[in-house]
């Protein structure tokens, strides 16, 4: 039985061709939902602490519902990024494309611990966050392909996607960190108990403006969680070659810090809950280092194997893949079944395919769009094109 189920599973994971086979060839042992546990408790890795007496808990409860939701979300992001890889190689996506596959536990885990009314800002490896913060796969892919149905009407591209309480998508390394502290200042100013999650990478962690921001956030007790997504490489430079101290969770000095296993979604969630509570209680900023990994290179222009070995990448995939980790936990604790997860995989694939279809067939934005969105709330005016005779109308 198990062999047949595993065989069926492997066929599904092989790709669309396999999934197209008639269902009757896959032996399904029907299980009713009474066979599933409603929740399970897991041990999670203890976080290293800096200037903190206590840290996040070392166990986490995962309900069946949560598990299915996290699984589906991570799988959606995974497949969306892989689809983007495909579209880029077909030259349907152009320019910059920084993919997030491998890091899914970070964005999904963070979102699981905060509210939609909280705020989040990150750098350019942002497609996962655009999704978890509420943008549809359709709109994300159409933005990547530069179509009018994109979340920024095709005017932003990969690095400039925005949503409610999600401030992008920022192209300049480190610049988003002071912005995030400014958003946190607004949270404190308005007094609505909201916080801001301000993300940056291990490469950005050496930017001076981040230290300026640490200083002001601590001085003014801004409700800001600084989050360093340490995926071990800043473009082609490993952390050992870029930083005199690779303990990124300690780099905030007077700001308390936590080092978190960024491949374990429960670890991320529990640490973020802890950090959010710290901020909301008025204690000021806190720093989280999420130790994670990206399977792709820095961007689609980087094969990602000149500065690291294929063996290393393979090892992470086989031992620490965030989706596999969650899946194993759920299967081993009767929170779900292979079939159920397979059904989710099929749903996800379908969603991605439809979104990709839209993204490749939706028209590009009309030329009139070129002049728009220069100013907000401004009476229409003219914008100069490449010559004095070419003018575009600008409306906000």
């Amino acid at each position: 039985m198990r062999k047949m189920l595993l065989a069926a599973l492997s066929r599904v994971l092989q790709g669309p061709a396999a999934a197209a086979r008639p269902v009757s060839r896959v032996v399904v042992a029907s299980r009713n939902y009474a066979d599933f546990a409603s929740e399970a408790t897991f041990d999670i890795k203890k976080c290293d602490l800096h200037r903190l007496e206590e840290g996040p808990p070392v166990t986490a409860v995962l309900t069946r519902e949560e598990g299915l939701h996290y699984y589906k979300t991570m799988q959606t992001i995974r497949r969306m990024e892989l689809k983007s890889d495909q579209l880029y190689k077909q030259k349907i996506i152009r320019g910059f494309c920084h993919l997030y596959d491998g890091q899914e536990a970070c964005c999904v885990g963070l979102e699981a611990a905060i509210k939609p009314t909280d705020h989040l800002i990150t750098a350019y490896r942002a497609h996962g966050y655009a999704y978890t913060r509420g943008t549809s796969v359709r709109e994300i892919l159409a933005e990547l392909t530069g179509r009018k149905g994109g979340c920024a009407k095709g005017k932003g591209g990969s690095m400039h996607m925005y949503a409610q309480n999600f401030y992008g998508g920022n192209g300049i390394v480190g610049a988003q960190v002071p912005l995030g502290a400014g958003i946190a200042l607004a949270c404190k100013y308005f007094g609505k108990d909201e916080i801001c999650l301000t993300l940056y990478g291990d490469g950005a962690a050496n930017q001076g403006q981040i230290f300026e921001t640490y200083n002001m956030a601590a001085l003014w007790k801004l409700p800001c969680i600084f989050i360093c997504e340490n995926n071990r490489y800043g473009m082609g430079t490993s952390v050992e070659r870029a930083a005199a101290s690779t303990d990124y969770y300690k780099r905030g000095d007077y700001i308390p810090g936590i080092r978190v296993d960024g491949m374990d979604i429960l670890c991320v969630r529990e640490a973020t809950k802890f950090a959010a509570e710290h901020c909301r209680s008025g204690k000021g900023p806190i720093l989280m280092e999420l130790q994670t990994y990206r399977y792709h290179g820095h961007s689609m222009s980087d094969p990602g194997i000149s500065y690291r070995t294929r063996e290393e990448i393979q090892e992470v995939r086989s031992k620490s893949d965030p989706i596999t980790l969650l899946k194993d936990r759920m299967l081993n604790n009767s929170l779900s079944s292979v079939e159920e997860l397979k059904e989710i995989d099929v749903e996800v694939r379908k969603e991605i395919e439809e979104a990709a279809q839209f993204a490749t067939t939706d028209p590009e934005p009309p030329l009139e769009e070129l002049g728009n969105h220069i100013y907000k709330n401004e009476p229409p005016f003219e914008v100069r094109g490449p010559s004095q005779w070419i003018k575009y109308k600008s409306v906000g």
Binding site: G168, A175, P178, L179, E212, I374, Y375
Partner: protein, 376 residues
């Protein structure tokens, strides 16, 4: 006696005040308020003398009071009352939440201001001088000016960046640069450059109320200069529209276009030239971007001669842009001579007084240029 209006007498008084100013720097904290009343029954409008510093202070106070989302941050703006005393008294009145002293971290606090604007506040970010804005220029251009466009209208950035710009007196090369051309270059920004107290007050208020990132280029040497402020200008809702130039002086023979402190030099030159029968039209740009080219064109059509005057460097400057735009438009056919630019000298600003003086367009340079362009 009729109401105080526009007239030679007022211009001469202002010119005199400016001449005194050129010789010695005004002390900080100096703000004389002389009430000039006309008419026995007080039914005529009452103008007052207000210096640029106090005008800015009033504008800040009024806008802080009007909208709770407005706040001021920058170095020494709170407890020191402002490096140039522009924010005097505001911290006492509004407290730590609304008037924030920052550490010396331009890139950091500018980014914080921009982020706060993205999240719904309306910050006023003060640079002690615009020279220091260079350290933060990425936040002004890449984070503030481009975000509305990149987000296709989803994320507005209603922030005001303000502070003294351009040359001061004896502060050396690193503290004397004019950034009008640098910021004026960038779509997504509005850039304003006040000359008079009315300009300063009205433009600052308009900038705060504008939903876009505005760079306001003030001038340190103008802070202590008094100007007459009409009764209308004293109102709490007095605004100077962004994007509209002002004709400070009507004329027929030549158009002098300028911004900031140079406007005063143009008016001084005009006062001298009128004795020789030359009537200069002096245009105060007030806004660098979006520039009111139409007003310049209309003036050139009338006078047939154009001279631009600015403190910034010549290459790729405000004057260069004006000349290019005039060439492209209908006014070109009305020019009787090529347009002329008066600018700062093409060198870093030296310290010694005689050198520094000769690095900026002086009144005598404007007079010389007018005579040259008119062939007299």
């Amino acid at each position: 006696m009729g109401p105080i209006g526009r007239g030679r007498g007022k211009m001469a008084a202002a010119a005199g005040a400016l001449r005194r100013l050129v010789r010695c720097r005004p002390q900080q904290g100096l703000g004389r308020l002389l009430q000039l009343r006309s008419g026995i029954h007080g039914s005529a409008p009452a103008a007052v003398q207000v210096n640029v510093r106090d005008a800015l202070n009033q504008a800040l106070d009024e806008e802080l009071e009007r909208d709770e989302r407005v706040f001021l941050l920058g170095e020494e703006v709170a407890q020191y009352d402002g490096a140039y005393k522009i924010s005097r008294g505001l911290w006492k009145k509004y407290g730590d939440k609304r008037i924030i002293d920052t550490p010396i971290s331009e890139m950091g606090f500018t980014g914080i201001a921009v982020g706060a604007a993205m999240a719904g506040l309306r910050p006023i970010c003060e640079f002690m001088t615009f020279n220091f804005s260079m350290q933060a220029i990425d936040q002004v251009i890449n984070s503030a000016s481009k975000t509305l466009y990149m987000s296709a209208g989803m994320v507005p950035v209603p922030v005001v960046f303000r502070g003294p710009n351009g040359a001061s007196a004896g502060v050396g090369a690193q503290h004397s640069q004019c950034f009008a051309a640098w910021y004026g270059h960038c779509p997504g920004l509005k850039v304003v450059s006040p000359w008079s107290s009315e300009d300063a007050k009205g433009l600052l208020k308009a900038s705060v109320r504008d939903d876009n990132p505005v760079v306001m280029l003030e001038n340190e040497l103008m802070y202590g200069v008094p100007f007459e402020m009409s009764e209308a200008a004293q109102s709490k809702d007095f605004l100077v529209p962004i994007g509209k130039a002002k004709i400070e002086r009507q004329g027929t023979h030549v158009t002098l276009v300028s911004h900031s402190r140079s406007v005063g030099h143009c008016l001084e030159a005009a006062a001298v030239l009128v004795k020789e029968g030359v009537e200069c039209e002096v245009i105060n740009l007030r806004t660098i971007r979006p520039m009111d080219v139409e007003s310049i064109e209309a003036s050139v059509v009338k006078t047939n001669h154009l001279i631009t005057v600015e403190g910034g460097w010549p290459q790729f400057g405000v004057g260069a842009e004006i000349c290019a735009r005039i060439m492209e438009g209908p006014a070109f056919n009305y020019l009787d001579a090529p347009a002329v630019r008066l600018t700062g000298a093409d060198v870093p600003m030296p310290y010694a007084k005689i050198l520094e003086e000769n690095c900026l367009p002086q009144v005598k340079d404007i007079i010389f240029a007018v005579k040259k362009i008119l062939n007299i």
